[in-house]
Amino acid sequence: MLIEILFVIILFLSPLFLNAYWIDVLNNIGIYAILALSLNIILGHTGLFHMGHAAFYAIGAYTTAILNTMYHIPILWLMPVSGLLAGIFGYLVARPIIHLRGDYLLIVTIGIVEIVRIALVNNIFGLTGGSNGIFGISRPSLGGLVIRKPQQFFYYIWIFLGISVYLFYRLENSRFGRALNYIKEDELAAEGSGINVSKYKLLAFVLGAIWAGFVGNIYASKMTIISPESFSFWESVILFVIVILGGAGSIRGVILGSFLIIGLPELFRQFASARMLIFGAAMVVMMIFRPQGLVPPRSRTYSLEVLIGKE
């Protein structure tokens, strides 16, 4: 616990001694961490092999970008809209495929993210601006304060991350979270115990999609310009790797994973063109030494007093 508190304090003071470049790296880490946390619901807790999370992120970002540039609706108002649309999209695509077994689901979700990207490149409905994307997205403003500088975005992103961590933590330890874990461990037994497996799987998908939609909104306003290449299959792979490498189902693990996967290539910059080579090799090595992830989730423990209601 002490380490976590220390980490949070250092993190929140870090804009004081870091330059704009490193603050921006931290901002990216924060964005990926929230995305990975939302994927963690689907992949880590429910055990659904989902490698297309960037699709939901893209829907959120494009919703914000289109509505903001066309109708000049303020960014923060668009956050719930982006989440909602991403959630609806998640529901619609997950519904017919939710019964697919592990690897089949994996390839179909890859298909979804690629179809979304190609649709964006081909300027679907004349709204997405093709491969150039959309530019001129405005900044979020909180009661007169316009969030513009990297430092401001740092607090905006990391406070959002903090709220997400709290909510996902609560979710993890709720009836809903336990049901998801049960499905992951043994789908048949879960079904047998009266858990509506496909309903819970769908809920996990929709919840993850909504959260990714929120992050899409943040990303669009941070960059002010978005293009399909930011939502490629590769982004989904990175998120997938963060969750598995960090420790599927573990919030600490996912945040640590974001630091490693997004931060490490920055540290390797001195190796210039060889940095991705080293990065790939590092992924293999880390997996071999920690196959269960860097910080695997702690198994649930219940004290007897609580269970028999004597506490």
């Binding site: 495929i97 077994r101 179809i115 190609i118 991705m276 990065f279």
Partner: protein
């Protein structure tokens, strides 16, 4: 009609390449239940090795283009196969007992490693294959001009696939491979050296992928260090369409995907070509959740 036949033959040619790569995915999946995401990059390595051998040994001048290509293709297959065995030893064997997704991440890491090594060795630009090696002539059937190259490509793929099929069905080792795919534990009890079988599978799959790489280089005339990613993904789709783990399924899936994609690019929209492949995949999986030839797997209770 002319367009249709041209696209159909083109689709069959591409499809046979997808099928060759898909065989690597499907064999590895059959025995290890692992999606080898680095397979597409082994295909790229084959394409680049082929390029190096073609331009450096001067073999073409000594023995003529057809023999030279044949020799080089065999060399590339051997080398890529060895890289495959090495890959399994280093990146997958330590994770055999771990969670399945750990091996997937290891495979993704290996893929990044391979594609970036190619970039460091050969540079990030497109590299051009020697283009005077293959016959440029056409065969005319019923007033349709079909390039000889296309037919050669189909022929070579079919020979390779037939060899593989006979090997897996008729030889003792092939039977052992099929046994290991059904039940590793039982296979081990029957005296089959499963580690050896896995090494053999990791030799054959990448070898076929490497052959496909050199064929793509010769057919399209250029290679790029990232091309393995897209070809790998398409071939993976082909394997899943056919029913992953099923060898005839991979061949069928590859051909189906190649033809649909080629016809779709001509008649529907070229810009949506890559999306068509995924769309077909999703429709097929919704209708038949285990692919066309995949066996229905009953859940064990």
């Amino acid at each position: 009609m002319e367009l249709f036949i041209q696209q159909l033959t083109n689709g069959l040619a591409i499809g046979s390449i997808y099928a060759l790569i898909a065989l690597g995915y499907t064999m590895v999946y059959g025995v290890m239940k692992l999606i080898n995401f680095a397979h597409g990059d082994l295909f790229s390595i084959g394409a680049y090795l082929g390029l190096t051998f073609l331009i450096s040994f001067g073999l073409v001048d000594k023995v003529g283009a057809p023999v030279a290509i044949l020799i080089i293709m065999l060399m590339v297959m051997g080398l890529v196969g060895l890289i495959g065995i090495l890959l399994e030893r280093v990146a997958y064997r330590p994770l055999r007992k771990a969670d399945r997704l750990a091996a997937v991440v290891s495979a993704l890491g290996a893929s990044i490693f391979f594609s970036n090594s190619l970039m460091l060795i050969y540079g990030a630009k497109f590299r051009v294959y020697p283009h005077n090696l293959l016959p440029k002539s056409y065969i005319t059937i019923l007033e349709l001009h079909i390039p000889v190259v296309r037919i050669l490509l189909l022929l070579v793929s079919f020979i390779l696939m037939a060899c593989l099929y006979l090997f897996v069905q008729k030889t003792k080792t092939g039977t052992a491979i099929r046994a290991a795919a059904i039940d590793q534990g039982a296979a081990r009890l029957m005296g089959i050296n499963v580690n050896k079988i896995i090494s053999i599978v990791f030799f054959i799959g990448p070898a076929l992928g490497g052959a496909a790489g050199i064929m793509v280089g010769l057919y399209y005339g250029q290679v790029n260090f990232l091309m393995g990613w897209l070809y790998g993904l398409k071939a993976f789709i082909a394997a899943v369409i056919g029913g992953i783990g099923n060898i005839p399924g991979a061949m069928l899936g590859g051909l189906i995907l190649g033809v649909i994609e080629s016809l779709g690019a001509a008649y529907i929209s070229f810009a949506w070509k890559d999306a068509i492949a995924f769309f077909v995949l999703i429709v097929i999986l919704i209708v038949r959740p285990t692919g066309i030839l995949g066996e229905r797997v009953a859940e064990k209770v």
